[in-house]
Symmetry: C2
Subunit: 453 residues, 2 copies
């Protein structure tokens, strides 16, 4: 019986086979040491998205810092028969020695802006492609989805409830992190709470209620064992009856100086039920008891519920948040944009296959504002001096991270500030207005000259 976990020793195996066969190619050709630059970018926005929230850089840099080929991994690679001994010997002493420039996590970005640029001997820069792509793509996708859900919730609290529906246990861990960056106040994921210091939330499942002879006994049992002020799930049998039972339990709690923090609705017509439950709670003087809603929610349903007058103070969002259900992938790429040729000169590179043109050379992105609000991004050459705030910063040199990773709370704060500065029309849930991304004259000229060649 084999687990499906990935241990830190196996970082080096988390790759497409072709990264290794290409690396072997560079190695045997004696071209492995030539410096190359790759851009990781999202080619285009998925449907209904006007922006993306960059995320995943901390894990990407940790990977580059720690990537080694252990004796065990080398043995496994030898066993495949794909590789020669001298190449495996090279891998034994491998460490990533290159430079990384990137846009900070929590930054609102617009395709086709590069998010991460890797400059290293080509054998190194190539080997790290798969891991960087999966890490940055997934977290950026989820941070973006979370920002949409949180935006639709208009200031109400949103908690990540996705672990059971995420694409396996690690997807759950990463989703919780990215969702927090996108504005969720916490997660139900205990491991994410421990690893990333994200506040954890949780109450009870229907099974807990059903295990006891009746709802009241179940609520009292839970309240008795739970150290804080409890939240009670009231929809197992009949939601309005459940609300009345919760009121009785609140009375019991009051006797010992405790409070009913909230009730949770997980099924049915959440608009009507939340209003009726609110009335029951208010009539009982429980104005301070909050109503929490969950059950198949996403940004569209939350938006509609609030428009229809739902009386909900917070949302638990699972499946759709943790899988980015309406757009479960991003069109991310990791493309060679410059390399040193045989004579030692760095030359910009372009790919021209049908419909998939890349932007050549080392680049920078400048963001221009109109007052406080983002107005336009300009993608230009790294050595240009254009107006606006440059977004791409040095984050790793000689394989060593230049800074500590920022606290996740600071990344969340950055995302909130960035979202507030993003035009409202670009943040629309449906048919968002396109944001202007220009290519500088110099970059445009380079594309044209390479294309003619």
């Amino acid at each position: 019986m084999r687990h499906g976990l990935v241990t830190p020793e196996q970082l080096a195996l988390i790759t497409d086979l072709y990264e290794l066969t290409m690396a072997a190619g560079y190695f045997s050709q004696g071209t492995a040491d030539r410096t190359a630059t790759f851009d990781l970018s999202i080619r285009s926005l998925p449907p209904q998205r006007g922006y993306l929230v960059a995320a995943g850089l901390e894990q990407a840099l940790a990977y580059l810092r720690d990537l080694r080929f252990t004796a065990e991994v080398l043995q496994q690679l030898e066993g495949t028969g794909h590789f020669r001994t001298d190449f495996l010997d090279y891998l034994a002493s491998f460490r990533f020695s290159g430079s990384v420039d990137a846009i900070a996590e929590g930054t609102v970005v617009f395709p086709p802006t590069p998010l991460v640029t890797v400059t290293a001997p080509i054998i190194e820069a190539q080997l790290v492609e798969t891991y960087l792509l999966t890490m940055i793509t997934f977290q950026t996708m989820i941070a973006t989805k979370a920002a949409r859900v949180v935006g639709a919730s208009s200031g109400r609290q949103v908690v990540d409830f996705s672990p059971r529906r995420d694409h396996g246990p690690q997807a759950g861990l990463l989703a919780a992190r990215a969702a927090f960056i996108g504005g969720c106040i916490g997660t139900s994921n205990v491991l994410a709470g421990q690893r990333f210091e994200i506040p954890t939330y949780g109450t009870m499942a229907h099974s807990f209620i059903m295990f006891y002879p009746d709802e009241e006994e179940a609520f009292l049992a839970f309240a008795d064992s739970y150290p804080g002020d409890p939240t009670l799930l009231i929809d197992t049998y009949d939601t309005l009856d459940g609300a009345r039972v919760a009121v009785r339990v609140a009375r019991e709690l009051e006797k010992v100086g405790r409070k009913l923090a909230a009730v949770r609705l997980d099924s049915g017509d959440l608009v009507t039920l939340s209003r009726e439950v609110r009335a029951i709670l208010d009539e009982a003087g429980l104005q301070a008891t909050k109503i929490f809603a969950s059950g198949g929610l996403d940004e569209f349903k939350i938006h509609d519920m609030l428009l229809a007058g739902a009386e909900v103070d917070g949302f638990g969002v699972g499946t759709e948040l943790g899988t980015s259900g309406d757009a479960p992938s991003l069109d991310s790429t990791y493309k060679l944009v410059a390399c040193v040729d045989g004579s030692g000169d760095e030359i910009p590179v372009i790919k021209l296959s049908t419909g998939k043109i890349t932007l050549p050379g080392r680049k920078q992105v400048w963001r221009q504002r109109n007052g406080g609000s983002f107005m336009r991004d300009i993608i230009g050459m790294a050595d240009e001096q254009l107006e606006g705030e440059p977004l791409i910063e040095p984050v790793m040199r000689d394989g060593v991270p230049l800074h500590q990773a920022p606290a996740l709370l600071d990344v969340q704060r950055r995302a909130a500030e960035q979202l507030a500065a993003t035009p409202e029309s670009t943040r629309a849930l449906e048919k968002p207005a396109p944001y202007e991304v220009e290519i500088s004259a110099q970059l445009h000229q380079l594309v044209e000259s390479l294309r003619r060649r």
Copy 2:
């Protein structure tokens, strides 16, 4: 800089917080030891799906077998302030001691059939909910998607190319396993190759071609370093030119007794290009050189391509396969269906919240055939004797797996046989015919009697 990996020591933290708060509740109420039975099932089919391919059981059982709360984990839980010392002491000696009955991996299943049934002291059965759900749900979803893609490919080979777009590194590992069960011949995922003995495939990226002064030099460099017969990616600049260059490289290979195994197309109009490339190869006498296609494929595109006369021998399918792009989640549940009450009797349990009725009691599923073909499933009580093949089997007793996990190749074979026996109309890519799933008279009666109560 923190990694986003999940180590085996952290299995116990991969859970929703509420599993632990409920467990603490059972513990402090003295009800923790009462036996309970939970069903893990998929409530309904996602759009366009007529069936599901069960997968993920091996990892679920490995988890149940190995789940422990280490001193480090207990310290972390203590730090949350959610739990009392006596409960943490209980967790220190925790091991799963229950029984599991399940449908074998690779079986074609139809909702709302239970896939996994857990019977254990309720505190244990409850604690394992989140992990079992994420593991079974994700792998079942991907095995199903793979079966659709492989079905659409009409006997051609399909390889999982999804690692870069999967929901993080572990999702990639699990996706490769599930895709193999669903009929893929292999994966580009090196770790999956090592862990699950899945054949790995890989060639080169566009960056490799672009790194060299011209395509021919790149192809020769790759062929020189690659020990086997190479596959060449021919669409970096112009696909038809690329095919002609590949022919020249094939001539060089022939001189030293080697062959050009295949060419790969990754962009453009794959129908037209594949036919034109086929003609170029055939005219050069390279009838044995295969054409491999990739680039944003899914079952619908493959079906249409083949219908339009594409000359393709194999497909690399990434994003849509590894994320189940058109249906990136399954409506899975883990529901209490029976428990021992205060007097020691086992009683069936039902949940009645709006629109979400569960099937109570311990159950079995019988599959009836018409000739070789699946005709009908009947869900009944475990102690009934109905006609057909019972699908739910004992797989764990007293926390110990009853069997070795089957070889993955045998699971793949089982899935292929099961798919062949599934009515063609139910396997349709679009608007599949519903398969008949009946509830036995006895189970129906139980539902009604519990509902009246």
